[in-house]
């Protein structure tokens, strides 16, 4: 299972660097398809992985002086509140509903990526 996790991580990293879209959008479907995690566990684990990569990324950018904490707080603090609401809502969804909703989200993003 470790090998599959490493593979998923590598693919997500490459994809986000090359195409500018990544993280959870790639990790969640691959966790469900390759590792067989249920949708709730896949989204939760994706958040954990994003926490690791984002923390590392912030450290690198901060050294270069590109990080603007004020702006980060402006969008980040409401996002924390939103995240509390989102996880709460997610617990009310069945695994199947969540999976279907994720598929719908991906379709929307795919269309947006092609049209944009």
């Amino acid at each position: 299972m470790i090998a599959r996790l490493v593979l998923i991580g590598l693919v997500a990293g490459v994809f986000s660097a090359v195409f500018g879209v990544g993280g959870g959008i790639v990790v969640v479907p691959l966790l469900m398809a390759l590792v067989g995690l249920p949708s709730h566990a896949a989204t939760a684990t994706s958040l954990g992985a994003i926490l690791v990569t984002a923390s590392a990324g912030v450290a690198l950018y901060a050294v270069r002086g590109d990080v603007r904490p004020g702006y980060a707080a402006l969008v980040g603090i409401p996002a924390v509140a939103g995240s509390l609401l989102g996880t709460h809502v997610q617990q009310r969804l069945s695994g199947r509903t969540l999976t279907l909703a994720f598929a719908a989200l991906l379709v929307g993003i795919a269309v947006w990526l092609i049209v944009w």
Binding site: M1, L106, A110
Partner: protein
Amino acid sequence: VTVWAIAAAVGLGFVAGVLSGIFGVGGGILFVPTLVALGLGHVEAAATSLLAIVPTAATGAIRQRAYGNLRARAALVLGLASIAGAEVGVRLATEILDESMLRRGFGLARGAALPWGTVRAVRGAVVAVLAVTVAGIAAAAPGPDSTSQSSGSALVAQVTVAGQTPVGAAAVSAPPNATVGGPFVFPADGSVLRIGTSTATATAQPGTSTSAEGSIRALAVSIFAGEVVAESVTVRAGAAAGPAGATGDVGTSAITGLVVLGQALTPTGGAQFPLADWGTLDVLGSTSSTSDAPRSAESAVSGLKVRLIAEHAGLPAGTEIVVGVASARAVAQTAPAPVPTRPTRPDGSPRDTGSAPRPRATPRPRPPANAPKEPGKSIPGAPPEVVRAAPEVTARLSRGGYVFPVFGPAAFGNTFGAFRADVAGKWHHGEDLVAPAGTPLLAVADGTLFSVGWNDIGGWRLWLRDDAGNEFYYAHLSAYSPLAIAGKRVRAGDVVGFVGDTGDAEGGPPHLHFEIHPVELLQYGYDGAVAPYPFLVAWRRAEDASFSAGRTYRLGEDGLAGPPGAPVAAAQAGAVLLDAHDISSASGLVPGALQQALAGAQRRASGTP
């Protein structure tokens, strides 16, 4: 930057957070355009977006951990691999991306190989493929009828005065998992109910295999200013369900130091005692129901329940005071009926050490590819990929000079694999041998001790590896013998420690938790365990205790501290025994000993020799 732009940024940030919480994405897809719109450069926007993602993802991950969904180790591996992948990706991007992409948010493009349209189409197509994959998973998943459920709840105390709303203390229910506690009095002067301190915990673990537990522990309980008193009330209800079945469990509930109207009582489950002419006391009343299809398991238990049948202490008849209520409920995922199959042996399966030739099994029909997991292959809380069927083991340990691990009377059953909320995998990896505190524990075989020391679950514990490589785990010890040193050679029957109730056994009956990890299964780690029951039954017949082997040691040797040149002395092993063994309630003194002692005292008092 106008007020409106800031308001829009706050709103978009909130939306990004909601998406992050529901779908497990970072939110960068909304953060970056928002920050660019606020006037940040592309690189700044990307960097600042990462900083906003950190608390957002952390919040979601922490909440999900409480719900039992986060696989922390997998997340760490994924994250680290993803950092490595991004390194590779950056190099790749500088090779294949077009200068014009800088405008579109790529701070890293330098070379020029792929036109923008191609990049756009490729990434859109990849996401579209992922969408189809996810939709396929949703279509293949069992229908909405089959979602699993789990809920646990616990309540420290509740007073229901007849005709009034109940007043409760420290109530929790899961999900999410929670713990509350503290002292409780009712009313303010504590004349009806006083609880020194308490904790109530509720956990629920949803999934293909689902489990739930509610538990409370209340100390120093006094009802009606001392008319009903208990030192501790421990109440636990667990329920687990999986593809193979469902079980409920209230077995570890206990009440100690119960004194009713000045009389000490032994609490037995389901007992009811009269309280003079004014009420009744129910002790450890429990219900447990298990149904099979659709799977279900409910169990509930209440510690002390006082019911008034006449007015008492200013409260009317019909008033009810309950201390310690726990309940758990688990409804399994009703996947299609499982096809029973023979457990398969993994590669490198243990060889048959028995001498009798085993009859060859007739070939079984192969299950269809989409057949559900076979019974017994799931562990609550573990993803199905990491669960394997228990291999068949036929090693015959009883012939190799093994001895029973407890010296003297010990009671044990066959609870291997039963639900246990607080251990890895949530199943009982061994067997509990109940014996009085201080009963000597023996090495089951010649071998070497290791991992001697404290563990929060096992308490004072030790491991023994025998000469064949099999490993044995002893937990909840009250004391070690002088032999109990990591790396020490012991012989079968050597006393290595004494029965106790340390670790998570604290407050329960003293017992030895004993596990057998055969050498052939060590590759499976802690889960490589077999049911000790048949071995214990076989070993019970031979108790070759050899106290002499472990009786003496020398100060300054064997790793024991001692000043250089200190006199070499024999160990006072008896002192260790007395330290650990409560003999206050023991009977069977030498006949006449008490009379002799009293006679001696009288002689001394009267001055005669």
